[in-house]
């Protein structure tokens, strides 16, 4: 076999491995399983999906869709364990509301109601808890949802990191929506609703593990207004949406390209990133494409409606920087490619674990 043929053969093996469902073969849980990369993928595809198999779950949407007497209900749940619990631009309470509301919204469902479950660490100052409960109430009001049920538990000091918040959200499918995680089509324009990487970078800096100060605030907010505007502008031409939280835009694009068996090609120069995020990422060696967002969405829109969709997004508060960042193509299916600002092309894969700063 010639050298070029061998190289091609090896790349085909790598591509084949990427396309197959991940297997769960680890003997213990490490932090990598929570990072939204390949280790998380192996946990979900290798352990949870096979055990709980059903059609609503198998599609791996941000919310599961349940049909009740002809009405499509969207159901989703999320746990929030962020440290520190307060950071520039928000706190765990707001995240817990917006995160769950956003999972409903990008599934094409109008958020209706939430449940709230609090796991509190012994010794948590009442003042901090009160502040978070108020933040939850405020965020719920802004997002137009009510907290209709809840639970509280207290664990011994050291068994939780001040507080964990779990929310479950119920929404009703919007009749205008035709979105699905496997709905990507060749030719679709890929749109992001604003500058990326702000939430994750704000939290990383708030941990004060780096001696680095930058004015970066979390982007936490409900994306329902953006979804509403997109549904109005693009209707059935809106093929898919996702909120790129943990793992960032790169991981979300990879998941969707895989489930739709198309390739996503992103033009790096077109991706909106705030200069402070870009600068912090540059210093830390972290690519903003892999950093979490909490108030942004990625939309896949047929070319005919792309301009209208972009205009609609830009009219929504927080959507001013919305941009078309790429498009879906046929080959190679399941992959995400980046056209670098430098004129080269490369694969943008899912990370194995947390994005780790480079050291030299």
């Amino acid at each position: 076999m010639s050298s070029a043929a061998r190289e091609r053969r090896i790349l085909e093996i790598v591509q084949g491995t990427r396309a197959r469902p991940a297997r769960f073969r680890d003997d213990q849980i490490t932090m990598a399983h929570g990072a939204g990369g390949k280790a998380s993928q192996s946990l979900i595809e290798g352990l949870l999906l096979p055990a709980l198999a059903n059609d609503a779950l198998a599609i791996l949407g941000d919310a599961g869709i349940v049909s009740v007497n002809g009405a499509g209900l969207a159901l989703t749940t999320d746990s929030f364990v962020v440290r520190p619990i307060r950071f520039p631009g928000g706190s765990i309470g707001e995240l817990a509301v917006n995160g769950t509301v956003n999972d409903l919204a990008v599934s094409g469902a109008r958020p209706l109601a939430l449940t709230l479950s609090l796991v509190l660490e012994e010794g948590l100052p009442a003042e901090e808890l009160q502040a978070e409960v108020e933040a939850i109430a405020r965020a719920a009001e802004q997002a137009g949802v009510q907290v209709v049920a809840g639970d509280t538990k207290v664990v011994e000091r050291g068994h939780a990191d001040s507080m964990y918040v779990c929310t479950t959200g119920l929404g009703i499918l919007d009749p205008r929506s035709h979105v699905s995680p496997d709905g990507l089509e060749v030719g679709d324009r890929i749109i992001v609703s604003g500058a990326i990487g702000e939430h994750g970078m704000a939290v990383m800096l708030a941990r004060e593990e780096f001696s680095l100060e930058a004015r970066i605030s979390s982007d936490t907010r409900s994306v329902w207004p953006a979804v509403d505007a997109l549904l109005q502008a693009a209707g059935a031409d809106l093929h898919c949406m996702r909120d790129p939280t943990r793992g960032g835009v790169a991981s979300a694009l990879n998941e969707l390209a895989r489930s739709s068996a198309v390739a996503a090609v992103v033009s790096e120069a077109d991706v909106p990133v705030a200069p402070a995020v870009l600068g912090a990422g540059e210093l830390l060696g972290i690519d903003p494409m892999y950093v979490a967002n909490e108030g942004k969405l990625i939309a896949f829109v047929a070319p005919a409606s792309a301009d209208a969709a972009l205009e609609a997004l830009r009219g929504v508060p927080g959507g001013e920087a919305a941009a078309v960042i790429g498009e879906d193509v046929q080959e190679p299916p399941g992959m995400v490619l980046v056209e670098t600002a430098f004129g080269g092309r490369r694969v943008m894969d899912v990370l194995a674990g947390d994005p780790l700063p480079r050291i030299c």
């Binding site: 070029a4 061998r6 190289e7 091609r8 090896i10 790349l11 085909e12 093996i13 790598v14 591509q15 491995t17 991940a22 073969r25 213990q28 849980i29 490490t30 932090m31 990598a32 390949k38 280790a39 192996s42 593990e209 780096f210 001696s211 200069p275 870009l278 600068g279 540059e282 830390l284 060696g285 080959e331 190679p332 992959m335 490619l337 670098t340 600002a341 430098f342 004129g343 080269g344 092309r345 490369r346 694969v347 894969d349 990370l351 194995a352 674990g353 947390d354 780790l356 700063p357 480079r358 050291i359 030299c360």
Partner: protein, 371 residues
């Protein structure tokens, strides 16, 4: 970003690629080694291979600090991390490097207190904040990171911080280059030199490479335009029959290096007689340890653990990759048994490792190879 954008200018890049094309002799191949992992990362990240004419081949060198760390040192870190009362601190890259019985990330999951730091001073800060714990910094890297470890140790000693110590794995770049140049199967025509190391050591230590081994050497920056310009300078030397050390990274690197950094390194460290490099075996006088007056801060002496030598996994060909003898994809386990999720070799772990860079960034566009 100001001061960076111009070094990522695609137009400039293409102009340099044209110059390279004009300089090369038809039919001749040019094998150039980029010594530093940072360059490997840039090359894949920006698709620099795509811009180069067919005859120019880039070979990855031994300059990735995580990649060259042998398994025995990881085992040592894990053994110390499991000692009672210890907080083990290290750079994030280190966490997933496999030892013979798992990685530091696995040790953390089993209960060891392992924390990521971004500078050795952060580790010292943890020691100050936890006076009842033993805080150990697992130091890795070439001359690039050694000065900051040295400054931290000097500070710790001056401030009388008793609960801080360091496992020193610092290595130096010249000995492995020497070993490489002396190997009989060497097929390298020139070197893209390590810019960050050179900010510390300057240009002089590399003069033996053109003088004794007849290979041109260009100290290079890390932006894509830097790397392309360095390649252009190497090809220009080869085309013009010149052979010398040139400095492309003048905006940062001075010929004399950084005397203050060298001074503190000289005070805190001494050269080890021998050190094992992953895949390259033992290289004499290629690494640093704490000097006598810093003995008390040396974790290898403070803790009763022995750094045992562990053979590299037989299937792993990291050594061949690090010597530039094979391309990542030519390794017998690349992409099959060894992947970024389940790495066997160190080159698959760090984003600067040749195998991880190749695996993650791939090369889809080159002459429509797979598209």
């Amino acid at each position: 970003m100001r001061f960076v954008d111009e070094f990522r200018d695609a137009g400039l890049g293409r102009a340099l690629a044209e110059e390279i094309r004009a300089l090369i002799e038809p039919g001749r191949t040019y094998k150039l080694m980029e010594v530093c992992g940072g360059h490997t990362h840039t090359i894949y990240r920006y698709g620099i291979d795509d811009l180069l004419p067919g005859g120019v081949e880039l070979v990855h060198g031994p300059g990735c600090p995580v990649c060259v760390l042998p398994m025995g040192r990881v085992d040592l870190a894990i053994a110390i991390a499991h000692e009672s009362g210890v907080i083990m601190t290290c750079f994030g890259d280190m966490l997933r490097v496999p030892g013979s019985r798992g990685s530091l990330l696995d040790a953390k999951a089993r209960g060891a207190d392992v924390r990521i730091v971004y500078s050795p001073l952060d580790a010292l800060g943890i020691a100050r904040a936890n006076p009842d714990r033993e805080v150990v910094f697992f130091a890795i890297g070439f001359e690039t990171t050694a000065p900051s470890t040295a400054l931290t140790l000097r500070r710790a000693r001056a401030d009388g911080i008793e609960n801080f110590s360091c496992v020193c794995n610092h290595v130096t770049i010249v000995p492995p280059l020497q070993a490489l140049l002396e190997s009989p199967d060497l097929q390298i025509d020139g070197f893209v030199g390590p810019g960050h190391v050179a900010t510390v050591v300057g240009g002089r230590p590399f003069e033996f490479i053109p003088a004794e081994h007849g290979r041109p050497f260009v100290i290079s920056g890390f932006e894509p335009v830097d790397v392309l310009q360095s390649i252009q300078m190497l090809i220009a030397q080869l085309a013009g029959g010149r052979c010398e050390v040139e400095n492309q990274y003048r905006r940062v690197v001075s010929w004399e290096g950084n005397p203050r950094a060298l001074e503190v390194m000289g005070e805190v460290f001494e050269v080890r007689d021998d050190f094992e490099w992953r895949g390259l075996g033992f290289i004499p006088r290629s690494a640093l340890r704490l000097s006598g007056s810093y003995e008390r801060l040396d974790a290898e002496r403070r803790f009763d653990v022995v750094a045992a030598r562990v053979a590299d996994p037989p299937a792993c060909q990291c050594g061949d990759v690090l010597r530039g003898a094979i391309k990542p994809w030519e390794c017998r386990v690349f992409g099959t048994a060894c992947t970024p999720e389940k790495p066997i070799g160190t080159c698959m772990v760090s984003p600067e490792g040749a195998c991880a860079a190749y695996y993650n960034y791939g090369r889809y566009a080159r002459e429509g190879a797979l598209v």
